[in-house]
């Protein structure tokens, strides 16, 4: 094997692991059966950067595990985050705005149910009860359900929406990614992903008035409330960007080719 060929093969190590699993054997075969020129090396190097940017990363175990872990932690924070220490006085208008936005975010997350095709809808109808059961079990295990009955005042109730919205967004994520796998025209999954992105944005905006109220009462506000806010925003953003990334490459764009 010539040094140039060896270098070309070494450049394949720069590609993402998922790309290597899929294409490295084929590219290695090509490299070893053709002359390797400087341009070959250059395109392999730039191709690696391109693959990192554009290769569709599946809903990897890492990302799925991260979202699942975040859901459990969020549920665990639920009770401490909305306990009786969140009874401070607050401007009702701020809390009403937050609650309205949280409800809008949750509705937006569920909206893809109405826009997806038959196959995906059936999958979701099966997945939702399972997801709800899993969520209920998690909450029961962490004691959140039993504790919520005597939780705090209006601030605590406004916070509740911010805990539910990211869970709904995450539950809707498999719907979008499944649709991307079955609908190569891309329009339906893209719509579903956009709904999730809007839901994530609404969830983030909704937290702003809540955070303002929590910050105003900072000495008495438990740190778990801020942790729950950060987790809620991060979780919904991760789910939305995953949905957008997964559907971006299925858009019907040969007109743009």
């Amino acid at each position: 094997m010539s040094p140039a060929t060896a270098l070309a093969r070494a450049l394949l190590a720069l590609y993402p692991p998922t790309w290597r699993d899929r294409y490295a054997e084929e590219v290695t075969d090509l490299i070893t059966s053709r002359p390797v020129r400087p341009r070959t090396l250059l395109t392999l190097a730039t191709g690696a950067a391109d693959a990192w940017i554009h290769h569709r990363h599946p809903l990897t175990l890492t990302r799925a595990a991260l979202l699942a872990l975040a859901a459990v932690v969020l549920a665990a924070l639920w009770n401490p985050a909305i306990d009786e220490r969140l009874t401070q006085p607050a401007d009702p208008a701020l809390l009403t705005t937050a609650t309205t936005l949280f409800i809008a975010a949750a509705a937006q997350a569920v909206l893809p149910l109405l826009t997806t095709r038959r196959l995906t809808r059936a999958a979701v109808l099966l997945a939702l009860p399972a997801g709800a059961a899993a969520l209920y079990s998690t909450l029961a295990l962490t004691g959140a359900l039993t504790e919520y009955g005597h939780a705090g005042g209006p601030v605590a109730h406004a916070t509740l929406g911010g805990l539910l919205a990211p869970l709904l967004i995450t539950l809707a994520l498999p719907l979008t990614t499944t649709a991307a796998g079955h609908d190569h025209s891309g329009a339906t999954p893209r719509t579903a992903a956009t709904c999730l992105a809007v839901a994530a944005i609404l969830n983030t905006i909704a937290w702003l008035p809540v955070l303002a109220v929590l910050s105003a009462a900072l000495p008495r506000t438990p740190w778990t409330a801020f942790a729950a806010a950060a987790l809620s925003i991060g979780m919904s953003a991760l789910a939305a960007t995953t949905a957008l990334t997964r559907t971006r490459t299925t858009r019907p764009r040969l007109a743009a080719l």
């Binding site: 294409y23 053709r34 070959t40 395109t43 391109d50 693959a51 554009h54 190569h184 764009r253 080719l257």
Partner: protein, 109 residues
């Protein structure tokens, strides 16, 4: 060649060449490079070709076939063929417009 777009990046032209090559018959990478060189004069490097294959496969416009003799052939799918047809129609309109506009005209200032 069509305008490049952010989605297909520097592989825009290459993706079109690959679809045209696969429209004839399924081919593996080595044969695609040879075929594209024959009909277009463009010599593709492996890094460029597989960037385009990755994008086309993600869109569902091509699909891999079972490996034969250590090489994996690809075939164009129906959505890929439809997309290619649409793109070629666009190119045809552009070519016709360009042909009309470069004809010499008489009697104009």
């Amino acid at each position: 060649m069509p305008r490049k777009t952010p989605e297909l990046g520097r592989f825009t032209d290459v993706a079109l060449l690959v679809l045209i090559s696969l429209a004839e018959s399924p081919k593996h990478g080595y044969r695609m490079i040879a075929d594209i060189e024959t009909f277009s004069g463009t010599v593709l490097e492996p890094g460029t070709l597989y960037g385009a294959l990755m994008r086309l496969e993600q869109r569902g416009w091509i699909t891999p076939l079972p490996t034969t003799e250590r090489r994996k052939p690809y075939r164009i799918t129906d959505p890929g063929r439809a997309a290619l047809t649409e793109q070629l129609a666009t190119l045809r309109r552009i070519e016709q417009t360009a042909a009309l506009r470069i004809q010499p005209t008489w009697g104009t200032a």
